[in-house]
């Protein structure tokens, strides 16, 4: 531009004599300008998928190298084992599946290539699915590494569709049109166009047109330039799959009370109450997923601001930044472990603000009953309030060593671990309450012919365990091999220092009283510097063990509930248990920092070795 203006000054200086020379300079300038504009136009052609899409896109999902993922699944070592399951065989023999299978075979035959090759040719680079709120249209984009082959294949597919329709006496399903000299197709509701590397399919005219314009002219404001999108992109983690959702715009669509002010389910509130706060405020979500042979990881992240955490939910978030769940404990044969930060006492006391009237009434009634049980102490304030707001829930597989006291149905052991605020005061009170509870259970049990509990007290880990064990039955004239279900339980309460353990069995109480935290317990991935609000883990090896312990029960259930014969049921249950063995563990974590909240999860598989 400076070049031109200098020239203009020069030309004004030597106006009269320089006129014929001005002409070719203008021409040169014009050429250069055109060249520059053309280059600019080409530079404006969208590259990343986000640049193709309008800024009113509210949902965006991207999968990189889909063929790799497909290969991973098809060649996965566990595939043959899953396909051997009765339920899967059943599903595969049903009409819908068979129809699809037939359709795919026919296509493969016509195209002369397996469907996996078709996929990699047409969508080898990435697949994108987006939803635009302005046109209410869905757009699916397939980016190919080899545009010519993609072109050729598309033409072939159209040809096949037309031939098939003609053979069956139906009209031509594919209609052609041109938008700005580009050919676009219409098959039913779908509009399809090959634009450069991409094949785009959409269901709305407006959106389709806008994509073509984007291709030819570029977009002024595309999804890529939307601030929330850009911010979300920054939090993208490694992995083939990534999704973005513009929650702010979607929230407007919801009816006024979709996110309820109050719930009617105390359990849900306790578990995920904080998510209600988030749902009300978060502007967007960014989710990444990585699929590998040995597992699947997902991280869902959102921004977070401290005034989004409502006051009534202080019990859930924790005060200020201190709402941390404790570190996981080392427990043998654990099936599930959940560490949490919840001030249950405060939740109960705040019930008036959190729940609907009916639930508040129910809690009042429960309070009345429980206060009776706890000898007049106020349940919410005195009992629940005696513990610090963080704790553990542990479920572990039991080992039954003594056949004389082994029950028929083998349940896991359950336990809660809390920290007491005032151990000297709470310990005797809880002990007394426990004793009364056992006494009450015994009297009620005696009236109903159930076995009796015998109180025991033992010193352990520098503290004390008060427990109760069921007495073995007097008569051994039972039909079943083992004992009734009560023999899974030997309720116990243990205290050591400020640790309090409430457990369903004595062995787990003993173990937990002295259990120590694991280092680097969490393998769920994600941001490890943030505060963990809730962490959970499920160990499939122990879960498999529990199912194994109860095989005959599961088989009987399958026979009665699903009408299977003994052989069918046995085969099915054995297979199911075996399959569980190939899953290692599942970890879940919810954490939040000063500006971010995140849910991360990982499912780990245990792969068969050569000889398995």
């Amino acid at each position: 531009m400076a070049f031109l203006s200098t020239h203009a000054r020069d030309s004004r200086a030597s106006n009269s004599a320089a006129r014929p020379r001005f002409g070719w300079r203008v021409l040169l300038a014009g050429c250069l300008l055109t060249a520059a504009t053309t280059t600019l136009a080409q530079a404006q052609q969208p590259e990343s998928a986000a640049e193709w899409l309008p800024d009113s896109t509210v949902l965006y999902v991207e999968l990189e190298h889909p063929s790799e993922l497909v290969d991973l699944v098809l060649e996965h070592p566990l595939r043959p084992r899953i396909e051997a399951l009765d339920a899967v065989k059943q599903a595969k023999s049903e009409k819908p599946y068979r129809d699809i299978e037939a359709g795919v075979s026919m296509l493969e035959a016509q195209l002369g290539m397996p469907w996996t090759s078709l996929l990699s040719s047409v969508a080898g680079e990435r697949v994108v699915v987006a939803f635009d709120i302005q046109s209410l249209g869905v757009a699916v984009g397939l980016q190919s590494a080899d545009p010519e082959t993609a072109d050729r294949l598309l033409d072939k597919l159209i040809e096949l569709a037309r031939a098939d329709a003609q053979a069956n006496g139906r009209p031509d399903p594919v209609r052609e049109a041109t938008i700005r000299d580009l050919k676009v197709y219409r098959v039913g509701d779908a509009r399809l166009a090959r634009l450069g590397d991409w094949t785009w399919v959409t269901n709305k005219d407006a959106l389709g047109r806008s994509m073509v314009h984007a291709y030819l002219d570029g977009r002024e404001s595309s999804l890529a330039s939307a601030p929330h999108f850009a911010a979300a992109l920054e939090t993208r983690q490694a992995g083939q799959l990534w999704a973005f959702a513009e929650i702010e715009r979607l929230r407007i669509l919801l009816p006024p009370n979709a996110i309820p002010e109050r719930t009617d389910n105390p359990g849900a509130e306790l578990l995920v109450g904080g998510f209600f706060d988030l749902a009300r405020h978060i502007p967007y979500i960014s989710a990444s997923a990585a699929v590998e042979t040995d597992g699947l990881s997902v991280v869902v992240a959102t921004p977070l601001e401290s005034d989004w955490k409502s006051d009534v939910r202080e019990y859930w978030w924790g005060k200020e930044e201190t709402g941390a769940a404790p570190s996981r404990l080392q427990v043998d044969n654990a099936v599930a472990q959940i560490e949490f930060h919840r001030d249950i006492s405060e939740m109960w006391l705040r019930a008036g603000d959190l729940f609907v009237d009916q639930t508040i009434d129910q809690l009042d009634q429960a309070d009345s009953t429980l206060s009776t049980l706890f000898l007049g102490a106020d349940f919410a304030e005195d009992i629940l309030g005696a513990f610090e707001p963080s704790g553990h829930l542990i479920v572990a597989r039991q080992s039954f060593d003594d056949p004389a006291v082994t029950p028929d149905i083998k349940l896991p052991a359950f336990a809660l671990v809390f920290t007491m605020e005032q151990p000297e005061r709470m310990q005797p009170q809880l002990r007394r309450i426990f004793q009364s509870l056992i006494g009450f259970l015994n009297i009620e049990g005696a009236m109903n012919g159930r076995p009796q509990l015998d109180l025991t007290m033992e010193a352990a880990s520098g503290g004390q365990i008060v427990g109760a064990q069921y007495l073995p039955p007097l008569s051994d004239e039972r039909e079943t091999q083992g004992l009734p279900i009560q023999y899974n339980f030997s309720p116990a309460v243990g205290f050591a220092g400020d640790r309090c353990v409430i457990a369903s069995t004595l062995p787990i109480a003993r173990e937990l009283l002295q259990a120590t935290p694991i280092d680097n317990a969490d393998s769920s991935g994600g941001d490890t510097s943030a505060t963990n609000n809730t962490t959970a883990s499920l160990q499939f090896g122990s879960l498999q063990g529990i199912l194994d312990d109860n095989q005959s029960q599961l088989i009987a259930q399958s026979m009665l509930d699903d009408g299977k014969t003994m052989d069918e049921a046995t085969r099915d249950i054995t297979l199911l248990i075996e399959l569980l063995g190939w899953v290692d563990r599942f970890d879940l974590r919810f954490s939040h920092g000063s500006s971010r909240a995140e849910v991360s999860a990982r499912l780990g598989l245990r792969l068969p070795t050569g000889d398995e």
């Binding site: 012919g449 008569s475 079943t480 091999q481 009734p484 009665l560 509930d561």
Partner: protein, 455 residues
């Protein structure tokens, strides 16, 4: 020898054996009728087998059960033991439903069910599933066995005594409840004893107790004095009073009358003359049930045309009958719940009288329950007819609605549909576009109809 005796004393009565030469053709229709009464319907295979075998052999086969009956019994007991671990009477109901559907010996199950209703004991009061199972096993063991032994065993069965509120029976205040039920419901029937008899009989059972789920005789509470019951004065030690009650002349008529109602017809009530030969046979056989049942099943009275369609199907007859006739299976848990909804909860009789049967099965509530239960059964994901889904099984006929209705009617109904009803069902089938729905809806409509409730 017994058969010879049987034949000679019954020759001139309606209980003489059915003779195809004289009384009517021995064909599929008659065999299906026999199977509806003696079993819970039968598959096409079984029907063919019994047609080929002839009346006497068919009855024989039903009385002894299929060849593998003994092995399967052991397996079914093992399954029961596994189910008992839950100690839930409702799970036991599901177990028994499974047995009813899959048993190789349906007549024995039918008789077990009969005794369960006769000596009614309910899981709503007896919450110990083991006690209920033991009683059920007792009924199965003596299904076609010795009534005297059965009654003695039941009289001291803990589940029974708990259900009848007779866990204690004191000398000072004898519990008349059990004595009354023994005479009224179990052995003699109403009107064949006096109040005085009840009081005296109650004294015989003093000291009979149930402690810790077991029967115990408390001799300190026993009134060993003399009692006058129905014409005999005696101390009636041990359980001799039970024998005395069974020895009463009205007893065989009562039992045989109930068997008549079970196997032959709900109404009209059989006359004393009609029942007399059977009552005599029962006494002659020393209260063994099998000979009487054999006689009834093979008789002209039961197999003849006049008995076809004379009973109202119980919920079990309806649902289990549908399944067994089409070689089917379903979720026993779901079906057990539905049976309860239709008024026949297994292990959950409505009261001490058990199930009266006949017209008492029918009310607005139960008819709706039947229609809805059939719908649920046919549409259930676990239901199979001949190892395939109902839609697939019925697809062999759904192309031709006339054929569909005919084939189903032949297998499942006791009486022929009037032309108008048949036309309506055919029109219903024609009006449904999707073939896989057509079969199911027509089946449900047919089996919910009034005539499908007849056996």
């Amino acid at each position: 020898m017994a058969a010879l005796m049987q034949g000679s004393s019954l020759a001139a009565t309606p209980w003489a054996p059915f003779d195809p030469a004289v009384d009517g053709a021995w064909n599929e229709r008659r065999v299906r009728h026999l199977l509806r009464r003696a079993a819970f319907g039968g598959s096409d295979e079984l029907v063919a087998e019994l047609v080929a075998a002839g009346p006497a052999a068919a009855v024989d086969r039903l009385i002894t059960g299929a060849d593998d009956a003994a092995d399967r019994r052991a397996a079914s007991e093992q399954l029961a033991r596994t189910v008992l671990a839950n100690n839930a009477p409702k799970r036991l109901s599901a177990w028994w439903t499974y047995e009813l559907i899959t048993t190789p010996h349906p007549l024995r199950e039918r008789m077990t069910l009969f005794w369960h209703g006769h000596f009614a004991t309910g899981g709503d009061k007896v919450t110990d599933a083991e006690a209920l199972y033991r009683q059920n096993r007792l009924f199965r063991d003596e299904a076609l066995g010795d009534f005297r032994r059965l009654t003695h065993a039941v009289a001291q069965d803990p589940a029974m005594l708990i259900y009848l509120d007779s866990v204690t029976n004191r000398k000072a205040h004898p519990n008349e409840n059990f004595a009354r039920e023994l005479m009224e419901l179990f052995v003699l029937g109403e009107g064949n004893y006096t109040e005085a008899d009840v009081q005296q009989l109650a004294r015989c059972f003093t000291g009979w107790e149930v402690k810790q789920g077991r029967f115990r005789f408390n001799r300190y509470q026993h009134d060993g004095g003399e009692k006058s019951i129905m014409g005999k004065t005696d101390a009636f030690p041990d359980a001799e009073a039970v024998d005395w009650v069974i020895d009463q002349p009205s007893a065989p008529f009562f039992i045989v009358g109930k068997l008549y109602r079970l196997l032959v017809a709900d109404e009209p009530q059989p006359s004393r003359e009609l029942l007399a030969p059977l009552a005599q046979q029962l006494v002659d056989a020393e209260w063994r049930i099998e000979p009487v049942v054999r006689t009834m099943l093979a008789s002209k009275q039961l197999l003849g045309d006049s008995a076809i369609g004379r009973k109202v199907r119980s919920p079990v007859d309806l649902a289990v009958g549908l399944l067994r006739s089409l070689d089917g299976i379903t979720s026993s848990t779901a079906l057990a719940d539905d049976l309860l909804g239709m008024g026949m909860g297994l292990f959950f009789p409505p009261n001490v009288k058990g199930w009266d049967g006949g017209r008492t099965w029918i009310s607005s509530a139960t008819l709706l329950a039947r229609a809805n239960s059939l719908g649920r059964l046919i549409d259930h994901e676990s239901t199979r007819f001949n190892s395939v889904s109902p839609s697939e099984y019925l697809s062999q006929w759904t192309d031709d609605p006339v054929r569909l209705v005919t084939e189903l009617e032949q297998r499942l109904l006791a009486v022929t549909l009037p032309a108008a009803t048949r036309e309506k069902l055919i029109a219903l089938g024609r009006g449904i576009d999707q073939p896989e729905r057509r079969g199911r809806v027509v089946l449900q409509a047919m089996m919910s109809g009034p005539l499908a409730q007849l056996a």
